[in-house]
Structure formats: C-alpha cells, structure tokens
C-alpha cells in the first residue's frame, strides 16, 4: 500500500507537484494520465526517490520512504528509454538488482531464468541490448525491474517506444502480468486509450494536481471538470445557463438531464458517440446543418452547426460500412441524445 500525503515538489519557482494526496492499494494497476508538464513523471520520479519533495510524505506499507535515497527504496522503475546497461548482457542486466541485494549466485541464476521465462526471452541471456528489437528491449527492462521483487513497480511511459500493433499486444500482456503477480503498478502515460484499457483506477493530472481519481468508466462518464471531460476522449462542450433548475443551451434548447443541475452549472458535456443523427426518439433534439465529415474507418464523425453557430460532433459506429450513410455535407439534420448522456459541469 502506497500512501502519499501533502506532497509538494518545486523546481526553482515552478511548483511541479502541488499538495498531492494519493493511496494505491496492493495489487492495483493505477494509471497516471496527463499531458506533458502535468507533473506525472515528476510524481513517479519522486516516488522512486530521484526528486526530493519540498514537503509531504511517501510511505509504503506504513514505512516512511521520504528521506531514503533511491537505492534503499523497495520500489523499482521501468524507464521510458528502458535505460538498459549497454555493456552488459541480458542476464547481467536482469541480475543487476539481485546482486546489489547480495543474493547468492545460485539464487540469482534461478531468478534470472524465472524472469526470462516470464517475459518469454529464454535463450537471449547472452545477448547485448543492442542486439535486441525494441519489443525485446522493453521486455528485458520489465524483467530487470521485476526481478528484485519490488513492493511497487513504477512504469514511465512503458509502451511509448513501441509501434502501434505491438503496443496493443504488449498492453494486454502487461495487464495480464500485473494481474498474475498481484503487484501494484503505477503507470504513467499521456495516451488516454492506454489509460482507459489498462487501469484499475486512473488519476488525471494537470498542473501538478490530481484533477480526478476513479475507475476508467467513472472518469470517462462522470468527469468532474471540463478539463477531464476534454482530456479523456472527445467531448462536445456547450455553455449552459441554469433556469428553474434546468440547463438551457445558447440555441434555446432546454436540456433534459438524468442528473440534477446545480445552480452554478456552466457547461454541458456530451460524448460525440452518444449523439445520434436522424429522427431518433430521444428527449434532447436539436436541428443543424452538417459542415464537415471525417471518416476513421470504424467510425464516421459529422460536425453539425446549430442555429446559434455552435458546433456539435456526432460519431457513428459504421457497423454496416460507409455505404449505408445517407447524410452528406450541407444536409439539414436533427441531432438527438438521451438525458443519461448529459454531463453537467460546474468548472
């Protein structure tokens, strides 16, 4: 169990992490999601001990780590660049963290073999990192960081250096491995799809703060803030005014929502894939003109201009292929969405 309380990190005048609290229970795959400069990598490096916090506390299973140097912390990190030792064989790389802990030769050899089996790299022990493909290097880095049996594994953008197809396969492998090991992972990424598919819980970071923490469906379907709604997936954000406890759009539509509308609500967020085109029976309906279409293979997105000039996106899954779509640019259409699709945001 990792407990972070009141953590604050400062680089000169820049506050990189601002009063952050976080608890990660054993066996959880926690994903830190954020853009560049959000502080997610700094948080990871602070947990590993490379960055000294200005204030706050980091503890694992009740033991305070805050003042320990990196080499005395029971956590291991998998680096974004992998940071494999170029002058050592695969076996020597994996055994590095075991030898520093004074493990016997025989035990080291057993553990190295076990780790190579875990990442399916048997037979590669004598190779140098430069003789491996990117995917193989990634697996060596993983094996090296898992070998010393850390209480917590930190992964800094572990899949970013892999090409797209390999990334998808590796993602599934990594989740399976984490599940089998029952070890807590904290994984940093800027890729929202990666975060949604892998995480037990996601923490969305922005400007050194955790904006929202929750399960992928929580964070995606019930974002707290406009920032989270826009950062995680696409979202139509429309300004609203509140009248008699109901939200009204600039075009005059009074929106039917499933959730209560607070008096200080400012925006309505609707996911494009929940906006339907055509005469559909849904509580919220609005007319507009198609101004743009974009085809993504599995989906088709229409950009529709409403009467007041605001734009709304509607994404349709192409289950029947593109041929069936009768709508083209310039057509007048009706957009519709259910009350449950409405996300009312206060900030």
């Amino acid at each position: 169990m990792l407990t972070i309380s009141g953590l604050r990190v400062r680089y000169g005048s820049l506050v990189a992490i601002d009063d952050l609290d976080l608890t990660v229970p054993p066996g959880e795959l926690f994903v830190l999601l954020g853009g560049s400069g959000s502080g997610k990598s700094t948080l990871l490096r602070t947990i590993a001990g490379f960055v000294r916090p200005e204030s706050g506390r980091i503890a694992i299973n009740g033991a305070d780590l805050t003042d320990l140097p990196p080499h005395r912390r029971p956590v291991n990190m998998m680096f974004q660049s992998y940071a494999l030792f170029p002058h050592m064989s695969v076996a020597a790389n994996i055994s590095f963290g075991l030898r520093t802990r004074g493990m016997s030769r025989a035990a080291v050899a057993d553990r190295v073999r076990e780790m190579l089996g875990l990442v399916r790299l048997q037979g590669f022990e004598a190779r140098r990192p430069s003789q491996l493909s990117g995917g193989q290097q990634q697996r060596v880095a993983l094996a090296r960081s898992l070998a010393p049996r850390p209480a917590l594994l930190l992964l800094d953008e572990p899949l970013s250096a892999l090409d797209r197809n390999l990334r998808r396969d590796t993602r599934e492998e990594l989740v399976g491995l984490q599940h089998d090991l029952g070890l807590a992972f904290i994984l940093v990424t800027h890729d929202q799809e990666e975060a949604l598919t892998m995480a037990d819980r996601i923490g969305v970071m922005h400007a050194g703060r955790l904006m929202q923490v929750g399960s992928p469906s929580d964070v995606y379907e019930r974002p707290d803030t406009r920032f989270v709604a826009e950062f995680l997936g696409a979202a139509n954000i429309l300004p609203v005014s509140v009248r008699n406890g109901r939200a009204e759009l600039a075009c005059g539509l009074v929106v039917h929502t499933a959730m209560d509308v607070p008096a200080d609500a400012r925006w309505l967020a609707v996911r494009p894939e929940r906006v339907m085109i055509g005469a559909v029976d849904a509580a919220n309906r609005v007319a507009g003109v198609v101004v743009q279409q974009s085809y993504a293979g599995d989906t088709l997105t229409h950009v529709v201009r409403l009467a007041d000039g605001s734009l709304l996106r509607a994404t349709t899954a192409l289950q029947q292929g593109l041929g069936a779509d009768p709508v083209s640019v310039g057509d007048a259409v009706t957009l519709a969405w259910q009350p449950a699709a409405c996300i009312v945001l206060r900030r």
């Binding site: 590993a48 001990g49 490379f50 140097p69 990196p70 080499h71 005395r72 956590v75 291991n76 990190m77 680096f79 660049s81 940071a83 494999l84 030792f85 170029p86 002058h87 064989s89 076996a91 020597a92 055994s95 590095f96 963290g97 520093t100 802990r101 030769r105 025989a106 080291v108 050899a109 190295v112 073999r113 190579l116 089996g117 399916r120 790299l121 048997q122 037979g123 590669f124 022990e125 004598a126 493909s133 995917g135 193989q136 090296r144 960081s145 010393p148």
Partner: protein, 302 residues
C-alpha cells in the same frame, strides 16, 4: 563517388607525405653506415650498403636499454598520476551545470594559450631551491625541499603538461553517458560507488584508453621536460636520442633509437588493449555462465 575519393585522398596523402615517408627515411638512415660527411651517413646505393650495426648497438649496450626502460617507467607512472587526478576532474566537469562546464573546460585548456617551453621554464622558477614553492613552505614553517633537477620535478612537469590530454577525452566520454543509466542503477539498489564501478567506469573505458595513449606516447619520448627540470640521472630515451643526434652526430644510432621507440609505442598499447579485451571477455563469460549453465528449454519468443 569521385569527389568522395578525392576527399579521402587528402588525409591519406597527408599521412603518406608527413608520416610514412619520413618514417621510412628514418629507417633508411638507421640502416646506413655512419660516415664523416654531410649528412653524416654513407649512401646506401650503389652497391647496397646496408648496416644493422646501429640496431645491434642499441640492443646490446645497456645504456639504451636502461634509457628505454626508464622512459617507459616515467611514462607509465606519469600516465597513472594523470589518470588518477584527471578522472575525478573530468567527472566533476561532466557533472557540473551547463553554465560552469564551459568555464571549467576553459581552465583545463588555458595553459595552451602560452608556449610549452615558457611554461616549463616557469616551473624552474617555482621549483628551484629559493623558488616560490620553497619560499612559501619556509614561510609556513615547513622544511625547504630540493625539487628542481630531481625525478619529482620530472614527474611534476610531465603531469602538468599532459593532464589536459587525459581530461579532455575522459570528459567527452563522460558527458555522453546517459544519465538514466545511473538512475536505473540506483533504482536497482546500487549505492553511488557501486553505480560508478559497474556503470560509469566501464562505459568510460574508451575515454580512459584514449587518455592513456594521448599521455603515455608523447611522455615516453619526452625530451624537454627531463632536460630542463630533471637531473643528469634522468637519462630518458628522448634525451639519449638528442645526444646521439646533436652531440655525437651519430645519425644511424639516433635513427635506430627512434625506430625502436616507435615500434615499442605501437606494440605496447596494442598489447595492452588486446589483453584488456581478453580480460573483459573472460569476465563477461564467467558472469553470464551462471545464467547459461542450464540451456533454455523453451524456444526463444518471436
């Protein structure tokens, strides 16, 4: 294609004209008979007058052997001192902030702004019996030391002169070192000294070798420093060569010494590098042997 060959031809032509050709001329003089003429050796042709007397002499007379051994000893010890002082310097410069780095590098290279002979002469002023070092020592209540014209003075001069040639290649190598490797070593439980021994030091070895060669080769043939700072006992090979050439006007013997020195300086580093490679390979095999003791059962992935 043509242009590329032309570009490559320039350094080759340079090497041919200014290195290989003069070396062959020196070899020719070494194999000639001495003569009371200008220049002081007999022509080889016609009649093929080839003499190995000069080589026989330097191989049989202990004077040359001792001078050569002393030169190698002075070069080796000077190189070792340069390495032991230069490595921490290079490491400190490589790890200092961007702003300080250029200043510190400039300080390392600053002596090059002044002529070499001037700087060695300045050391005479520092080292002599009533020089600056002894004046300060006496003022501090320490005993005055005899420094000038001793072996110590030779070593001081050598280390002073050649230290930048050790620091610069080491610095270049150490700045190329990926800092995340040291993070990874620390993360895997290595305290700083262990990370240094297992990561920084082995990865800086090419810089260490470059520094060793850049210091030891000119140091082995050094003439000016033992001549100006050393005593009469400091008979280094460079000095002996000078005497043969200018005092005795025995060009074949001087040339033979030059040839022997060049051969030695070419063979010795080659042998050292070869031996180290073998040692590193042997160590790597022993280290990997534990993991490879039992062959893998499953086929490799992918």
């Amino acid at each position: 294609m043509m242009g590329r060959r032309l570009v490559l031809a320039i350094p080759w032509a340079w090497l041919l004209i200014f290195l290989i050709l003069p070396a062959l001329i020196v070899l020719k003089i070494a194999l000639s008979y001495p003569a009371d003429s200008v220049p002081p050796y007999a022509p080889m042709l016609p009649g093929l007058h080839v003499s190995t007397d000069a080589f026989s002499l330097i191989l049989s007379d202990p004077l040359y052997r001792d001078a050569l051994l002393l030169s190698l000893k002075v070069a080796a010890l000077s190189t070792a001192i340069c390495l032991l002082t230069g490595y921490p310097m290079a490491l400190a410069i490589a790890r200092s902030s961007e702003r300080w780095r250029s200043v510190l590098l400039l300080l390392v290279m600053l002596p090059f702004w002044t002529g070499f002979l001037m700087r060695i002469n300045a050391w005479i002023g520092l080292l002599q019996d009533n020089g600056w070092i002894n004046t300060i020592a006496v003022a501090l209540g320490l005993p005055a030391l005899r420094l000038l014209y001793t072996d110590t003075a030779v070593y001081i001069g050598m280390v002073y002169t050649y230290l930048p040639f050790m620091v610069l290649p080491l610095y270049t190598r150490l700045t190329q070192l990926d800092a995340s490797l040291l993070d990874a070593a620390a993360d895997l439980g290595a305290p700083p000294w262990r990370a240094f021994l297992r990561i920084t030091l082995p990865l800086s070895l090419p810089g260490v070798w470059a520094g060793i060669l850049l210091v030891s080769i000119p140091a082995a043939g050094e003439y000016v420093i033992p001549e100006l700072l050393g005593g009469p006992q400091a008979q280094l090979i460079g000095r002996v060569l000078w005497q043969e050439f200018f005092n005795n006007r025995d060009w074949p013997t001087a040339s033979a010494i030059a040839c022997a020195l060049v051969m030695l300086l070419l063979l010795l580093p080659g042998a050292i590098i070869w031996a180290t490679r073998q040692a590193v390979r042997a160590a790597a095999i022993t280290r990997g042997a534990a993991a490879e003791a039992r062959p893998a059962v499953a086929p490799p992935a992918r």
